[in-house]
Symmetry: C2
Subunit: 425 residues, 2 copies
């Protein structure tokens, strides 16, 4: 059973934010500046207010990003978690609980706040570490015999993403313009993407960095990770198909990446650690994990068309399906001497499971646009239409409680109007 809080809404089986979660984020109240908080039940606890009241030992939370706190390192992360646990526990330190004025100032209903990007994204790297996803996409593009690229079982394949367009859940996503080359036409056309898609991913957030020229072991790499978020790597499949050879995806991805507002700490997830799947091919020693470094996190994708009242769950899967853990990805990232930074974000790669209903992208769910999904009310979808809202949700399921991530959502708005300069003479 779970330790109880004096904040009643933190004690239910359904809340994403029980006492043992305490995820970090950045919020603001009407007219206020963004500052750091933790989620507890239905509230955000204002960490800057707790600092000002002298109840925390840090001086980093009156800031619009968690980077300053993360940079303090693991000992401070642990100390702060213990302190917050004591302040919110039913049988803990009464300093907050018994001070009605202070607790009213510190505990803000989540319904009254606006959430912001929780950290300044220093660098964003995206991976391709889900085997079912790689096999599904490979089968569609190259046939089942050549589904996995030859390097896939040896390398946690990754590529640099674009940090400037990582946005907080709720930010509207504008349909991108770009070059697409429909089949049977010789030259590309300029058009809004016709195959807008999601990728269901987890994001690992680095709270510590490394020096340039200094590789890391997998254990050292895991130590850099502060926590995890949900991540939607929005993708324009038709732009991607035309551009991605030979140097990888660019305009197909750089227009937006959404993340959930709460960074769930590695400490909160510790009891949900699981091993990566058995290796089909032995890994080189620099990638071998000294222990379980993946997590058992339930995930789902929901979709809703404009005007619909309810979401349709279109996919259910689990983070444990990944072939490589984030720790392995960080170790690979740094092996050539790349400098890792506080605030680096690493996308796991699309998380698909073994069955059709476990697929983490519409490309896979509609099998390249050939098998439409049916949403609530009979609406059909192969890819995303303007006005659609896509929502990711995730939680680690305990016995009578969950360590939740909240949601990561985005609604699609139409592409920009075409300007005269973009039209043919």
């Amino acid at each position: 059973m779970m330790r109880k809080s004096w904040i009643e809404s933190a004690n239910t089986a359904e809340t994403d934010f029980p006492l043992i979660n305490l995820p970090y984020g950045v919020f603001s109240r009407a007219g206020g500046a963004p500052r750091c908080g933790v989620a507890i039940g239905d509230y955000v606890a204002d960490l800057a207010a707790l600092e000002h009241a002298g109840l925390l030992e840090t001086a980093v939370f009156d800031a619009p990003a968690l980077n300053g706190f993360m940079a303090l390192g693991k000992a401070v992360w642990e100390c702060n978690r213990e302190r917050l646990t004591a302040l919110f526990a039913a049988e803990g330190d009464p300093a907050l609980r018994d001070d009605a004025a202070l607790s009213a100032a510190v505990l803000v209903p989540q319904a009254e706040v606006v959430m912001h990007l929780p950290f300044a994204v220093a660098g964003y790297t995206d991976f391709y570490a889900g085997r079912h996803h790689a096999e599904n996409v490979g089968t569609m593009f190259r046939g089942p015999e050549n589904a996995l690229p030859p390097n896939w079982l040896s390398i946690p394949i990754g590529y640099n993403g674009r940090a400037s367009t990582v946005v907080i859940s709720g930010t509207p996503i504008r349909r991108p313009l770009g070059q697409i080359k429909p089949p049977g036409i010789e030259l590309p056309v300029f058009s809004p993407t016709r195959r807008l898609d999601i990728e269901l991913e987890m994001g690992a957030v680095l709270g510590q960095g490394s020096a340039m020229g200094t590789p890391l072991t997998v254990a050292e790499a895991d130590d850099l990770i502060f926590g995890y978020v949900l991540l939607n790597d929005w993708s324009a499949r038709d732009i991607q198909a035309w551009e991605y050879q030979p140097l990888g995806p660019f305009q197909a991805k750089v227009f937006a990446t959404s993340i959930s507002p709460w960074v769930v700490t590695k400490a909160a997830l510790a009891r949900f650690r699981v091993s990566t799947p058995e290796r089909t091919r032995p890994l080189l020693p620099y990638l071998r994990e000294p222990g379980p470094m993946l997590y058992n996190i339930e995930l789902e994708v929901r979709m809703r068309a404009e005007g619909q009242r309810r979401d349709t769950v279109i996919s259910r899967t689990n983070y444990r399906e990944m072939y490589y853990s984030a720790a392995q990805q960080v170790a690979h990232h740094a092996i050539g001497g790349c400098r890792m930074q506080v605030g680096d974000l690493l996308g796991s790669g699309t998380i698909s499971g073994p069955e059709k209903e476990n697929r983490g992208s519409l490309l896979e769910l509609s099998w390249g646009g050939k098998e439409p999904l049916t949403l609530e009310g009979g609406v059909k979808r192969c890819f995303i239409e303007d006005g659609d809202t896509l929502t990711l949700a995730g939680w680690a399921q305990g016995d009578g409680y969950r360590i939740g991530f909240g949601t990561c959502e985005g609604k699609i708005v139409p592409a920009p109007a075409l300007r005269p300069e973009w039209l043919d003479d």
Copy 2:
């Protein structure tokens, strides 16, 4: 003829830094903090000191990066250039010239300063816009019939690079470890790269940004560019060959990118504008240039082995060889709505010319390692050995003067020692 300065070393035909150049950088003196300066003849002019003396209208140069100045925008860039020109011109404003104490404080011999990264690199994107390079590499990998990828004549192909390892000229470059798969072996091995290479590029520096979801025309894109630097996109060809399919180069490139210390402004280069080459295939309208947006900049690559007293020039080429300008690359970068940022760095792609001696990488110069180069004293090289120093240089050649970039150099130090965790059981 060129307008003269009262600083005599700025008036020679050989200096990179005449009065009409005035490139911006960040420097420090022994024991001092980094601050902004401009190069003039053999000196760095301390811009923070000029601000403190009330001779400039800004308050941004007592900072370790140019980002604050760049963010002020084009009108301020132009105003500051006019002001500096007046202060350094022989027949100009005497306020600095006639104040011996002030001019001694402001003008620091370049030999006495350490140069730093001139701006905080917000994002780094690398392109592949040199046709001769793309054809050379394509011929080596796919044969002459399929040298250019099908999209190459329509898209200025680019991919996200790693900003955290962009370093200033002079920074030693550690040979990266990684996975390589030599021909004829089934599984990869863990090893220092055996095919370490350079890529001779120009870097465009963005001094203004754009809003997410807002594409730019080519003219608007050109307006974001503050200036240009020399850029060496260090590359590990064997790591690249094994990793780059399907998502592009990653560990082959993220270990280091070097840039020259001085940002040569677009204003200084204006008279050297040239048109991109004639199009083989018409571009989509969003990529068409309203005027000449490429530059006539002479480039060379020099190489020196450990212990050698002199560089050998191994390549001579020109920036005008590029098929796409930086303005076109920025327009393409933003067309899907990517947010551009003050401090973004865009690599041009490797600049090779039509002849063998114009090639901008050792991969091309040694034709995949088959035709070794001969350096001073008979030393042979296909790729870079430990202790080798590679230097890029560049200048726009005027009539009796040059707008120079200085140099961009890096010496290779050996790979890290192997740790027990990386060795096979």
